[in-house]
């Protein structure tokens, strides 16, 4: 256990150093995040003219929703899928098969290092801008649960992206399919619009897909009430459901990883 932690720390540290050279790329988020948010502010300002709530959300809650979505995005962002498919396509995956460490551990440690760097250069500055400039209400109703939920979201987004990357072992040249999938993932996660805006039938489907656990659920936990497809859950229940979903996805990812490795060692992709 101690050894595993030392490994994760070392890889995370090296990744941190690797990306520190690209700080300016991360700092672009200081512009991109607030600009995207500003667009939402105007959209909803217009939409809320003469209305108290839309779909059960007040204007302030709506802004909090998009504010939290943006923060969760910067906290949990990774490109595990892109990295992995690149390793498979270039044949460099073999250098990982030759090291006594499952690649997914390596990738997760990389994400930890990368996001630690982002904490200082993306998350905190954007958070400050939101609170000070836009005066968004960004204090979670139940801080403890919100933190747990965002950590679970961190894992969920990693595992889904990693699974998308794993498909490269079977579909070497399917970058297009993967990108379509990731876009649909964002839509189904509630990045563009709270899922409660979708038609009833779609909501029911979305409830059973893993994507809501990346963005929609943690955001609702942050705001303090959860509702999807007519199902209302208390904060504790929602986080419990999320934890369950993370466990199931983890099992799926490990199975898929094993299958991918079997294919790699069988065919040599």
């Amino acid at each position: 256990m101690n050894k595993q932690w030392a490994i994760i720390r070392a890889i995370g540290f090296v990744t941190y150093k690797e990306w520190a050279a690209f700080r300016s790329h991360m700092l672009a988020s200081l512009f991109v995040g607030p600009v995207l948010f500003l667009v939402q502010v105007f959209i909803w300002q217009a939409m809320f003219v003469g209305k108290e709530t839309i779909n059960g959300l007040t204007f302030e809650q709506m802004l909090t929703y998009y504010g939290v979505v943006t923060l969760i995005h910067y906290i949990t962002f990774d490109f595990a899928d892109w990295n992995l498919q690149m390793l498979v396509r270039s044949g460099k995956f073999v250098t990982f098969a030759l090291r006594p460490l499952p690649h997914w551990v390596f990738a997760l440690a990389q994400k930890l290092g990368h996001r630690t760097l982002a904490l200082g250069f993306e998350v905190l500055p954007v958070l400050l801008l939101f609170v000070l400039l836009f005066q968004v209400q960004l204090v979670p109703v139940a801080p403890g649960w919100a933190v747990v939920s965002i950590l679970l979201s961190f894992l969920m987004s990693f595992m889904i992206n990693y699974c998308v990357g794993l498909t490269a072992f079977w579909l070497v040249r399917a970058e297009g399919v993967r990108r379509v999938f990731l876009l649909l993932k964002d839509v189904s996660a509630g990045v563009f619009l709270p899922l409660s805006f979708f038609p009833e039938v779609v909501q029911k489907i979305l409830f059973f897909l893993p994507f809501q656990f990346i963005t929609y659920l943690p955001t609702r936990v942050f705001i303090g009430d959860y509702e999807l497809a007519g199902i209302r859950l208390s904060i504790a229940e929602a986080v419990g459901l999320q934890a369950l979903a993370v466990a199931v996805t983890a099992a799926l990812m490990l199975l898929m990883y094993r299958a991918a490795l079997k294919r790699f060692t069988g065919v040599g992709v």
Partner: protein, 249 residues
């Protein structure tokens, strides 16, 4: 260009997929607009079809400007990073033209499909305008494409210095967010900025308004400002290129 087309034919399945991706991507914002209107909210003074018309014009403008111009952002991004941009400098043709050519991306024509579908859908809920509105629209549409061209030049130019940052695409997406909605939702000050200083409103909002009969002939002055912006873009791009070459890559 012919090579690119041949390449495209060889990877037809790849081509179909990336067109599909672009269509899905272009339809996300209209989908969100549709869902919001369905929930009973609306942009004050704009019906669903009118709001979608703005977004349709935006996608159509991209469908024409992106295949020809926007690819150069991607090529400068990768070629300057890998140091292969110098190869373009060796060709006996204008560098800007060559980098546009090497960035030519037929996949982007796929946006014309999503744009047309969206446009047709929006027009169904709109009183068909007269000939004058169409003439205004066509002229303003040219200005729209010119502005996208100049934006490509600015983004591509930045990449000579800000080596390898794919964040320029995020920046473009963020800024263009202002152009996909009826301009009237923004504060008066921002509306002025998007018309006179950073003319994002001219990409879709102004041409769409013309088609809806909401703009007079006076709006055609934007053709001049679009031309000025293109000129500025060309000067900027060439200056960045000069800096890049004199720094020795």
């Amino acid at each position: 260009m012919r090579v690119k087309l041949a390449e495209m034919m060889a990877y037809r399945s790849h081509f179909i997929l990336s067109v599909l991706l672009l269509i899905v991507g272009d339809l996300v914002v209209p989908l969100v607009t549709l869902l919001v209107y369905r929930s009973g909210a609306s942009f004050p003074g704009w019906t669903l079809h009118e709001a979608l018309l703005v977004q349709a014009v935006f996608v159509l403008a991209k469908g024409i400007a992106f295949p020809f111009f926007f690819g150069m952002v991607g090529t400068t991004l990768s070629q300057v990073r890998e140091g292969t941009f110098d190869l373009l400098l060796l060709r006996p043709r204008p560098v800007m033209f060559m980098s546009m050519l090497s960035g030519f991306d037929p996949d982007d024509f796929g946006r014309l499909v999503s744009g047309s579908v969206l446009f047709a859908f929006a027009m169904q809920g709109i009183v068909i305008p007269g000939g004058a509105a169409w003439v205004q629209f066509s002229l303003l549409f040219i200005a729209s494409i010119a502005i996208l061209f100049s934006m490509s030049l600015f983004l591509s130019g930045i990449l000579f210095r800000w080596v390898g940052s794919s964040r320029v695409f995020d920046i473009f997406d963020a800024v263009s967010g202002f152009g996909m909605y009826p301009g009237t939702i923004f504060s008066k000050a921002l509306q002025n900025v998007f018309t006179y200083i950073l003319p994002i409103g001219l990409i879709a909002f102004v041409p769409a308004s013309a088609l809806l009969g909401r703009e007079g002939w006076g709006s055609l002055w934007t053709l001049a400002s679009a031309a000025a912006l293109v000129l500025l873009g060309i000067v900027y791009w060439n200056r960045m290129l000069k800096n890049y070459t004199s720094a020795g890559g």
